[in-house]
Chain length 129, copies 3
């Protein structure tokens, strides 16, 4: 936790995809209070045209390099979310060449009872975490 | 916002998929209070058999043309949701040939702090939107 | 409802994937209070390396056979969730060879108004269910 879905369009190499995922994880560790080895990411590549993203009138165009990051988590504050958005944009631009206009992030909250990380246990409820 | 995941099985042409996504977006604009250019869609095609949908005993069968639409959003009312379901069924049948028995829609809510549409900003919190 | 996303990496046969989905559905019926024919599953296969899962420090390694099950639903109790996690781990190990250390489950809740199973109707609100 968090569980992060990273949706992109085809065009990056496997190494570039891994780097992108690594940078996302760095941000989870640095500002989203994820503990070490708390990494759960699903990367999905789509054909160009299968991610359709406009700008809600904010005044920019998306490119084929658009990245949608959907974060399922519990317990983060508004300040943590704002810090994560900002750091994701900075780091993904600097380390992966993702344009700040190509980054869309959406968060969904659930509860501590909503997670099982292995062995069929609800680790947050059973004292494991 | 909303972020809409459209999951279908293989069998539609690229043009048919685009038309399907366009119709979904029309409904978001018309009855789900999405402002102009507020479009965020991820289309995923799956091999036949990878979407398994029954009917909860409602009395119909799904075909391979099944369409699952998952809408992540905040702030819509029950009436808006009902209107969206009805209009999606009507329009997708009329304009895309989707059987009303092949349409499954599910909505998930989050908060205004849960969205960043670009530049690493939380646009709903920072006065941009 | 529930809508269940099952994400795995490539390597299982179609029959093995179907068996995995069937077992997940059995658990929904047995301990998650899903009524008969209440089955909504989306299976997505990813290239190896596109699901990156560590262990939050719990002390195990994931294999390429990792299975991520994300369940969108409303109304289940903490006890039902705990029972589902445990039974998923048991059954998927026994019937599908999924290691208990390869099973990650995450639940997201919505509301009764958030579901349409066909015909553009909100079945939970309109007396159909």
């Amino acid at each position: 936790m968090p569980l992060v879905r990273i949706d992109v369009q085809a065009g990056r190499t496997p190494e570039e995809l891994r780097q992108l995922a690594d940078v996302v994880q760095d941000v989870m560790l640095e500002v989203f209070a994820a503990p070490p080895r708390d990494r759960y990411q699903i990367i999905t590549e789509h054909p160009v045209g299968h991610i359709i993203a406009e700008d809600t009138g904010l005044g920019f165009e998306r490119s084929d390099g658009v990245v949608v990051i959907q974060i399922f988590q519990q317990g983060r504050s508004v300040e943590q979310k704002k810090a994560a958005y900002a750091l994701l944009a900075d780091r993904l631009a600097a380390q992966c060449g993702v344009k700040p206009t190509d980054l869309i992030v959406s968060v969904v909250a659930n509860e501590r009872a909503d997670w099982s990380f292995g062995y069929g246990r609800a680790q947050f409820l059973e004292g494991d975490l």
